[in-house]
Homo-oligomer: 139 residues x 2
């Protein structure tokens, strides 16, 4: 299951990408438009800022903005920040590899074989999708 955190994060990013004005967008505004609990969204946007995807401006008239053009923001990055590793098991993770405690030989492990394929196909989607793709209403 996709966490609410990721779902909300994706919606917020899309909202920001669609707005693309000069002034930063405020959490309250996004929360209201996208029906997201404001305090929760606050912590999500903070995560996205710390990861470098969003920038922020503090104080009055502050808010959040994209650090890159939507077409430059890949889903691989966004998903890793919000949801964590893309692989379903650590033993097939590119960025967070870990050997299984059980599992004597990875090459003989059926779970490894299957999840490797799932990872590759999912990765293929995320690598070829940018925030711009998500924010376009057509198709």
């Amino acid at each position: 299951m996709l966490s609410k955190k990721t779902k909300y994060g994706l919606k917020a990013l899309t909202f920001i990408a669609r707005s693309e004005g000069d002034t930063p967008l405020q959490v309250g505004e996004i929360a209201k438009s996208e029906q997201i609990p404001q305090k929760f969204l606050e912590s999500i946007l903070l995560t996205l800022r710390k990861s470098g995807i969003l920038g922020s401006k503090k104080g009055k008239h502050g808010g959040y903005y994209l650090r890159q053009d939507p077409s430059e923001i890949k889903m691989t990055e966004v998903m890793r920040v919000l949801e964590g590793p893309i692989a379903m098991v650590p033993c097939v993770s590119l960025n967070y590899y870990e050997k299984c405690d059980d599992c004597v030989d990875e090459n003989l492990c059926s779970v490894n074989k299957l999840m490797l394929q799932v990872r590759d196909s999912t990765l293929n989607v995320f690598r070829n999708t940018t925030l711009a793709d998500l924010s376009h209403t057509d198709l």
Copy 2:
């Protein structure tokens, strides 16, 4: 993340597929070989039996066996039984569709668009993989 339940279930099924003798395999035997807590595995195999993937024989010399040839057992079925819906959000699920509470228009929802692609690519893997594929040690 893949649950331990699914991981153990897949390993157990693979183990059974690789054994394919005349006599059913016992939980204890599988648990020991695959390093799975026996009582936990018991409940997993029970689930697989109830779903029709496994058959069982009770009493002394009882155990579990496959109801079909490994090449007939698709990962779509196994994964749905063990892990639940394949889609990451209910609004793109084939078998468990549910509208989102928020989300006025699905066609405009960026999460929906993205997760639809992920579902399709994952489904593609599961549809084209059988237990026989998992149990072959080569490639």
